[in-house]
Amino acid sequence: MADRKKLSYASKKSLYGYGFIGLWLLGTLIFFLIPLVKSLWYSFNEVSIDTGSMITEWAGFDKYKGVLTADPYYTEYLRDTLIETAWKTPMILIFSLFIAVILNQKFRGRVIARAVFFLPVIIATGPVYKIISGDMNTTGNAGGGMQFSTMFSIDLMGELLQFLGIYGLSDRMSDMISAIADNVFSIVWSSGIQILLFLGALQNIPPSAKEAAELEGATAWEYFWKITFPYVSPFILANFIFTVIDSFTSPTNKVMERILAMGSDWKFGEAAAMAWIYFGTILAAIGMISFAASRFIYYETD
């Protein structure tokens, strides 16, 4: 009792702080940090399973070399995935900012529009998305049954036009349109959370800024670049990171599929090396872009 009285208010509060995060800290140690270190350790080792116990043998960088040079699929998948992430991420960011700006305006049916655009948040992380985004293809649905399939890539725009009762556009035009629509589906469906974040950011722009801009006679275009954009810029970075990680862990990611396949073959060492190469690349990309972007970001200080 005497001991406790000696504690100052500050150190008492810091003890409470440990109390609040204690459970998490314990869990993180067991379920996050130790597995993380182990996975790094496996990637430098020859791992074999022997009657229920794991035997590791130091192999240095052999696994990394083997994965990068000898594996028939890995480098190809890695390149494809990185290229796809590289062009899709900016598209998603631009698109979701655009939609957020629209959804932030006042118009009839705004509530419904918002509800619809946030729907992907609910569906896109699960197996349902896998099915509707064209996984059907693998069950032999490709030939002929276009109007029965749910594959969007085929002719989404055509569907829409037919739905509206417009038929017979020229072939060339519908080809072009469907090429765009090909990617529209995946972009729209993977920008739910991004729209949500941007919308939140837009709503945090103080009304005084808008008033001032109106008084000065700013056009909508100027308003966007001089007011909206600076206020939203921190969230562009946050969304960028979120988008990259999302694509990283998505169920349709080929690199991840390859890693999991290795894992279920009990080739833990190779799988871990693959995962770390991928993770390292992504982390490096995020780091570089965050560093470059941080100079252009406007933080409101008050």
Partner: protein, 326 residues
Amino acid sequence: MSETGKKEAKRLRMLKMNRKERACLRRRTAVDIVWRIFRAVILFGLGFVIMYPLIYMVSCAFRDRSDMTDPTVMWITRHYTLDVIRETMQAMDFGNTMKNTLILNVGCSFVQVLSCSVTGYGFARFQFKGRKLLFAVVIMMILVPPQVISMPLYWQFRHFGVGKFSVNLIDNMLTMYLPAITGNGIKSGLMILIFCQFFKGMPRELEDAAYIDGCGPLRTFIQVMIPNAASAFLTVFLFSVVLYWNDYYVSSTFFTNTKTISLMLQNLDTELKMWLFNSAAVEIPPREQIVWKEAGCLLSIAPVLIMYVCLQKYFTEGIERSGIVG
């Protein structure tokens, strides 16, 4: 002001302007109208992209199998039937699956929200040694994909404990509950961050008042902070439920035969064949297969969809105040 009064005032204002000003005004009105039409087209078109699968699901789920091969049936079926839904429900063992999902996934998401909120509060309001470092760990948890650590984690659950005193936890619900209780479940890093930002944004006076009245930190948290953080809790809870509901990666890693809705949907093909024809080798024509698949999709998202529709108002409005945008 009445409508005619407004028009009159506008006319008077127009009269006072010179030509240049009038032209400018006209241009602005024109741009405004064009923008409105453009906006409507964009919203409708993209809304269609999102709604199309759902409309299609509803359209498919209630139709007869034979309608799938009938090219004249596009959206509205000729033979309205509940057979497909019933068959799919039986194949998915819907009652049991639902029970499992509720106990495992929804239970976990609930526990996880609680543990993340406690941790977030600890990070937001207390100063202690190593806080920055530990917060960096939270950021790490957001960055590291679950696939990187799932293999060592599997092994750890396979032999959970120290040395001889280890138990096999695979296929045990604890594999999902333990991480959730300690705030290490699916996307928990993100949730801790959201809570931390939210609690940081709340006025300190609330707690100071409680302290002065002799409330301990824990009781302050439960009785003062939680009631005031309802919107954040609701948002994170919705996220958490959705993430756990949709999860098939974690549950397929740690379970060999537990049936949750996502896992059942993953394996719907085989289940259907087993149930309808008693053999996995039967080939159902893909066109006919779609009816069941779509019905399965509809069944598995219906509960979250209903929840979303009910909470939608809080979700789309509450997000602004929930500190996600710290």
